[in-house]
Symmetry: C2
Subunit: 299 residues, 2 copies
C-alpha cells in the first residue's frame, strides 16, 4: 500500500494577520507527505537546491516518508513569498523564485513505479502526465492543479485530467476550469472531462465530492483562528489519500470517511505556520477531531 | 402551537440570469408564512396597499395562514426592484418604494398576543422590539435582520437581539454585526450579545448554528440551478420555526432537524420566482429532500 507524491518542496516566506516568517519549510509535496505519513508510508519525488536546510531533511526522514526520490541539485531551492488578508481565503503572491524547480523533470525511481496510490501535486500538467506514463498500474491517481495552469496550460491539463481517477481543486478553480458559476454544475461538468470523481475544496465552507450518482458534502471544522492557510489543500490531499490507502475496497463510505480524515488533518495544519502543528500531532488527536466532525454534522 | 410573523408583504420586480418578472408576490413575511404553513398554522401581521392584487390574498388564505393581522390601507404596496448576477449571492437593489410600509407600526391583534412562536422578520429593530413588548410569554422568539439596520440602527438592533432567543442572519451580516472576519468567531461574539442561539445562513454553503457548547453545520442542498434566491432566508426561517413548533421540547436534535427542514423548504423556494414552487410542493417532496440531505451528509 504505497503512496507516491510528486510536487514541490519549497521555502516559504509568509505574512498572515497573526505573524510573519521567512524561508520556512513549505511546498505541495511537503504538506501532502507529512499529512499522509500519519496513515501510510509515502514516497516523495521532488527537487531542492544546495541551500535546503538539513534539519528539514531530518524532519521529513523522521516521519513515515521515503526520501529516495528527493533530489538535491546545484542551485537554490524553490521559494514562494506571499501574504493573506484577514479573510484568509486568497493567497496573494509577492514573489515566486522557481530556482531548481524550473528544470524539474520528474524521473520516477524504478522502485517507486509500482506505487498503488499516486498524488500528482500542483505542477505543470505535462509533467503530471509524464509521471503517470512512468507508473505501472496504480490503483488510484489523484490530481491537484491551480489557476495558473488552468489559464496557461488548459489543453495539457485537460489531457492529464482525462487520465486520472480523482480531480482535486478549489471552488474558484472548479468554476474557472468548467466555465460555470454554479459549483454543483461545475463539478458535474468536470466529471464529463474524464475523472471518476471530483473533490472541490471550499476552504472555510468545507468540501464537496461528486461522482456518477454520488454526492457528498462536508462542512469545514469550525476553527475560530486560521493561523496560516498555506498547505491546507495539500494536507487535505495527504490525509485523504493516506486514509483511503488503508481501505483497498474504496467503497463510497470509505471515500467519505477519508474525506473527513483529510479535513481533520488540514484543520490541524492551518493552526500554525508550515506543517509545525503536524510535528507533534497524535493519532488520538486525529480521532478526537474525527468524532467532533460527527458531532457537528449529525442530525 | 401558534406561530406569529411580523414583516413585509411586497410586490417584487426581479431580474436573474434566468428571467425577469414584475410586481410578483414577495416580502419577508410572505416567504416565511408560506414556508411555515407546511408545518403549522401561521398568524401574519403586515400591511399592503389598495393595489395589492386580490389573487395574492386568495393564495395566502388558501394556505394554513391566518390573515386577520394583514391590514389593507390607502396607498400603494411596498415594492422592491432588484437583480442578481450569475453568482446569485448578492441581491443588487435598483429601487425600493416603501409606500404604505413606511408608516407600518405593528399593532398585534389581541387574539395573537398569546402566540407561542414569534418570528420577527426583517423590519426596523425598534418595531421588532415593539412587537415583543406586546406579546404575553412566547416560548421562542426568532429575529432576522439585514445590513441596512446593522449600519443605520445598530443600537436599537443590539437592544432587540438582547431579548430574543434565536438570531438569524447571513454570513456577511454576522461578520458586520460582530466586526469579526472569522465566521465562527463572529457567531461566538454574537452569542455574547444575548441570544441563546445564532443561526448563520451561508447561501450555497449551507448554514451553521451556534449555542453554548453547541455547534451544528449543515451544507446546502446541491442545486445546479438557483433560479431566484429572493426569499431564501425567510423561507428557511419559516421551515425552521414551522418544524420546531411541532417539537415542544426543542431538544438539540429537534433544533438540528428543524434546520434541515428549513433548508429543504428554502431549497425548493429558490427553484422559481416568488413562492411559486411552494404552491404545489407536497409533504412527500419535503420528506424526500430531507432524506436526500441525510444521504449527502452522512459518513
Amino acid at each position: 500500500m504505497s503512496i507516491l507524491v510528486v510536487g514541490s518542496v519549497a521555502l516559504d516566506s509568509i505574512r498572515t494577520p497573526f505573524g510573519e516568517v521567512e524561508d520556512i519549510l513549505g511546498g505541495s509535496a511537503t504538506h501532502f507527505s507529512v499529512a499522509a505519513s500519519f496513515f501510510n508510508r509515502v514516497r516523495l519525488v521532488a527537487v531542492v537546491g544546495e541551500d535546503f536546510p538539513p534539519e528539514h531533511i531530518d524532519f521529513l526522514a523522521s516521519r513515515n516518508i521515503d526520501l529516495g526520490g528527493l533530489k538535491r541539485v546545484p542551485g537554490k531551492t524553490f521559494r514562494w513569498k506571499g501574504y493573506y488578508e484577514f479573510d484568509l481565503n486568497d493567497a496573494h503572491t509577492v514573489d515566486t523564485q522557481l530556482n531548481v524547480f524550473e528544470d524539474f523533470d520528474p524521473d520516477i525511481p524504478e522502485e517507486y513505479r509500482d506505487s498503488e496510490y499516486v498524488f500528482l501535486a500542483n505542477i505543470h500538467p505535462a509533467l503530471q502526465l509524464k509521471v503517470l506514463e512512468q507508473m505501472r498500474s496504480p490503483r488510484l491517481v489523484v490530481c491537484d492543479t491551480m489557476n495558473f495552469w488552468i489559464e496557461s496550460q488548459r489543453q495539457a491539463l485537460l489531457e492529464t485530467i482525462a487520465r486520472v481517477d480523482y480531480l482535486l481543486l478549489n471552488d474558484a478553480e472548479a468554476r474557472q476550469l468548467a466555465d460555470e458559476p454554479n459549483l454543483v454544475a461545475a463539478g458535474r461538468k468536470l466529471l464529463t472531462m474524464g475523472p471518476r470523481r471530483v473533490i472541490i475544496k471550499k476552504g472555510e465552507h468545507g468540501v464537496i465530492m461528486l461522482g456518477k450518482g454520488v454526492f457528498f458534502s462536508l462542512p469545514a471544522y469550525p476553527l475560530e483562528t486560521v493561523f496560516d492557510p498555506t498547505g491546507a489543500g495539500d494536507s487535505f490531499g495527504g490525509g485523504f489519500l493516506g486514509s483511503l490507502s488503508r481501505y483497498p475496497a474504496m467503497s463510497d463510505e470509505e471515500v467519505r470517511r477519508s474525506i473527513v480524515y483529510g479535513s481533520v488533518v488540514a484543520s490541524y495544519n492551518v493552526e500554525s505556520f508550515s506543517c509545525d502543528r503536524l510535528r507533534d500531532l497524535t493519532a488520538e488527536e486525529i480521532e478526537d477531531r474525527y468524532r467532533e466532525f460527527t458531532a457537528i454534522t449529525c442530525f
